[in-house]
């Protein structure tokens, strides 16, 4: 176990922070899982934070001038560069502290938020650079599995078979034709101290992981599965249910990678069939039984692979 994490006892229902760094009154859709993930992540981090956002739903819904939902200092520059902007913030804090222009002992966590598009696709290079350089910051990918802000186009994180506006099913297509890109594995391949997956359905787990990400020295990456009723064609009230089902079907396993070691944080011994998850969302409604079998096989195989990673280390 990393020594930075040794003292951290974890959040529980009894010791939740009172502060809400992310204010209500924002413009997210009803039942938005992404804004919930964002709020919980910030709640875990607290008020001594500088936040960077990539362009995307969360940036748009939180900052229609003259309003802002951010009670912590916040900057948004562009779509593909949240990790690079955060690098600059982190470097500046380091320099200013060293030169006595910022209180030396004041802890400030630098956190970058980006969607799956801003992370897996257009922002991957900036992310890789920042992780490789070892900046002390937390990068949080809020994965709603498509470019929602621009009207539900596919991303590298859109799951196989899903319908989006640029992966429409038709005579010659089943919808998204590729399997979801494994960004946590890419992040882990940088040899950074901390990588984790989380979902707002298990909110204490989410908060603990984000807090740990902040506590470790060096870069940390947290990939948060974030249901989007608008983009998925699901009911707003089903968002938490979907987030839980994604874990219980093994579609989105919860784990940590600490100094290269994989730990499954929620073992799913009796998985539910993927169909239970798929059928709650219009984006999968065109799939045939055969497609669903194909997805089930892939999910089983991926989970096996994850188990082996967690066991052999």
């Amino acid at each position: 176990m990393l020594k930075e994490l040794a003292k951290f006892k974890g959040f529980s229902a009894k010791n939740l922070p009172k502060e809400e760094p992310f204010a209500p009154g924002h413009r997210a859709c009803q039942g938005c899982g992404e804004v919930l993930a964002l709020r919980l992540a910030l709640k875990a981090l607290g008020m001594n934070v500088i936040a960077v956002s990539a362009t995307g739903c969360m940036e748009i819904i939180s900052s229609p001038f003259p309003y802002t939902s951010w009670r912590v200092p916040w900057i948004h520059i562009a779509f593909e560069n949240a990790a690079a902007v955060a690098s600059g913030v982190e470097a500046a804090l380091k320099a200013l502290k060293r030169k006595g222009r910022f209180p030396k002992n004041r802890r400030v966590d630098v956190v970058a938020f980006a969607g799956d598009g801003g992370t897996a696709d257009i922002g991957l290079q900036a992310l890789s650079g920042a992780l490789e350089r070892g900046h002390d910051f937390v990068y949080i990918c809020l994965d709603n599995e498509a470019y929602m802000n621009t009207g539900v186009q596919r991303s590298g994180c859109t799951p196989y078979g899903a319908m989006t506006t640029t992966s429409p099913p038709g005579e010659k297509s089943i919808g998204q034709m590729t399997w979801k890109k494994n960004v946590p594995a890419i992040a882990a391949a940088h040899g950074i101290p901390y990588v984790a997956t989380a979902t707002p359905a298990f909110f204490l787990d989410l908060m603990n992981k984000v807090k740990k990400a902040a506590l470790v020295n060096g870069p940390a990456y947290v990939h948060i599965y974030s249901p989007c009723p608008t983009g998925w064609g699901s009911k707003g009230e089903d968002s938490i249910r979907l987030a839980r089902l994604a874990v219980e079907t093994r579609i989105f396993p919860l784990y940590e990678v600490i100094e290269g070691k994989y730990y499954i944080t929620r073992k799913v011994t009796k998985p539910k069939p993927v169909e239970e998850y798929l059928k709650l969302q219009r984006r999968f409604r065109h799939l045939t039984e055969e497609h669903i079998r194909e997805i089930q096989q892939r999910v089983d195989a991926e989970y096996e692979r994850l188990l082996r990673l967690a066991e052999c280390l």
């Binding site: 008020m47 001594n48 934070v49 500088i50 960077v52 956002s53 940036e59 748009i60 900052s63 229609p64 001038f65 003259p66 802002t68 951010w70 009670r71 912590v72 200092p73 916040w74 900057i75 948004h76 520059i77 562009a78 593909e80 560069n81 990790a83 690079a84 902007v85 955060a86 690098s87 600059g88 913030v89 982190e90 470097a91 500046a92 804090l93 380091k94 320099a95 200013l96 060293r98 030169k99 222009r101 910022f102 004041r106 400030v108 290079q125 900036a126 890789s128 650079g129 920042a130 490789e132 350089r133």
Partner: protein, 391 residues
């Protein structure tokens, strides 16, 4: 006063950046800017410069990191050329609109294709509208002096705009010239510490970079434009102050033998010395030719420029960049439009020369001046003309 010593201009620029006590540098290598950033990494590595040096993975990330840094309250520098500057393009607009005073030295170079590492102004002309303060240096001393000036102006609370200092790639950046680096105390006297009014600090949270709905976008842009135009006064004052401390005088527009000139050559950057030789030769031959050099390109010094060309019959603008299918080179188009409302304005002829490292010789300048004389009698057939093209 510091000593005048022979130095490569890039090295002197890096030394000047050090004297500005920058806190953060984020840069990516590209010829011909490399010597600047290499020397800065050396200064950081050996402890001569106390700064964070971010070895980013691209120029896009270089400028992005610079924005994060300057928004946190750190004095921040970057440098690039050509393809690197083009890759930054998107973020350059955001830098100025968010009023984040990054300072950048551009070692000007041609843009691909064909790929060329040599000098012209295509890279910077493609960034005309990004809203950065832009100056052009003629020689090594000026390059260095413009760096101090850039930080001083950019970070002034009345300004808060980023600034680019342009130096011609190779033909200036790699020259060894006698350059006087001032004493550190003088630089400290000239350049106060960076103290932005707003910055990212948990003790006083602010939001930077919100959504601009149609109800406020125009007003935001109007405010930006007003502030940018007002930067002109601070730019001039900062040069006045510079003269007091360092003894060298800079103005937005320089003139040479313009007293009674009929034809004037107009240039930006390091070609001035060659052009002056050409002017001297033509003067000896009895031709009334003068030279105008624009040092401050943005905000465009309209009044200084109009004053400088007063009484001239024909202005021969020598552009170092091509704007395909336009009505002239970028500088020519700019000054033609600047003069349009001026009664008794000079005529303007547009020449494109020195692309991708092609020499512009004394003879070339003489040819252009002669053509300008000729066009006083006979209108040019084309709206612009490329000089030195091999048949």
């Amino acid at each position: 006063m510091g000593k005048r010593i022979a130095k490569e201009v890039s090295i002197a620029v890096a030394e000047a950046v050090k004297q500005c006590r920058v806190d953060v540098i984020a840069a990516y290598p590209i010829t011909p800017q490399t010597h600047i950033v290499e020397h800065l990494s050396e200064l950081v590595a050996n402890g001569e410069l106390d700064a964070e040096y971010i070895t980013v993975e691209s120029e896009h990330s270089a400028i992005s990191a610079c924005l994060g840094s300057v928004a946190t309250g750190a004095r921040t520098f970057t440098s690039t050329s050509a393809q690197g500057l083009a890759l930054m393009h998107e973020i350059l607009f955001i830098t100025s609109a968010l009023r984040l005073p990054v300072v950048m030295v551009v070692a000007n170079r041609a843009l691909s294709a064909p790929i060329s590492i040599w000098n012209d102004h295509a890279d910077i002309m493609a960034q005309r509208d990004v809203g950065w303060i832009q100056t052009f240096a003629e020689n090594g001393q000026e390059a260095v002096d413009l760096v101090y000036h850039a930080f001083r102006v950019a970070e002034d609370r009345r300004v808060m705009f980023p600034a680019i200092v342009n130096i011609d790639g190779f033909t200036l950046s790699h020259m060894i010239e006698p350059i006087e680096l001032p004493d550190q105390e003088q630089v400290d006297q000239y350049l106060p510490p960076f103290k932005p009014r707003y910055k990212l600090d948990p003790r006083k949270p602010i939001s930077i970079g919100p959504v601009g709905i149609p109800e406020i976008y125009t007003e935001a842009k109007k405010a930006q434009d007003e502030a940018f135009k007002n930067a002109y006064r601070v730019i001039i004052k900062a040069w006045d102050e510079f003269e007091k401390i360092f003894g060298r005088r800079y103005r937005p527009v320089e003139t040479y033998r313009m007293e009674d000139a009929e034809v004037a050559l107009l240039i930006m950057g390091s070609l001035a010395e060659t052009a002056m030789t050409a002017v001297d030769r033509m003067r000896e031959a009895g031709k009334k030719v003068g030279l105008v050099r624009i040092r401050l390109w943005r905000p465009f010094p309209l009044r200084d420029f109009v004053r400088a060309v007063k009484g001239v019959k024909m202005l021969a603008v020598v552009d170092r960049a091509l704007s395909p299918g336009a009505t002239g080179g970028p500088v020519a188009v700019e000054v033609r439009s600047a003069l349009y409302q001026v009664p008794g304005r000079p005529r303007v002829v547009s020449f494109i020369a020195g692309l991708g490292g092609r020499d512009v010789t004394v003879e070339d300048f003489e040819e252009m001046a002669d053509k300008a004389y000729f066009y006083l009698k006979k209108k040019p057939k084309e709206s612009y003309e490329m000089i030195g093209v091999k048949e």
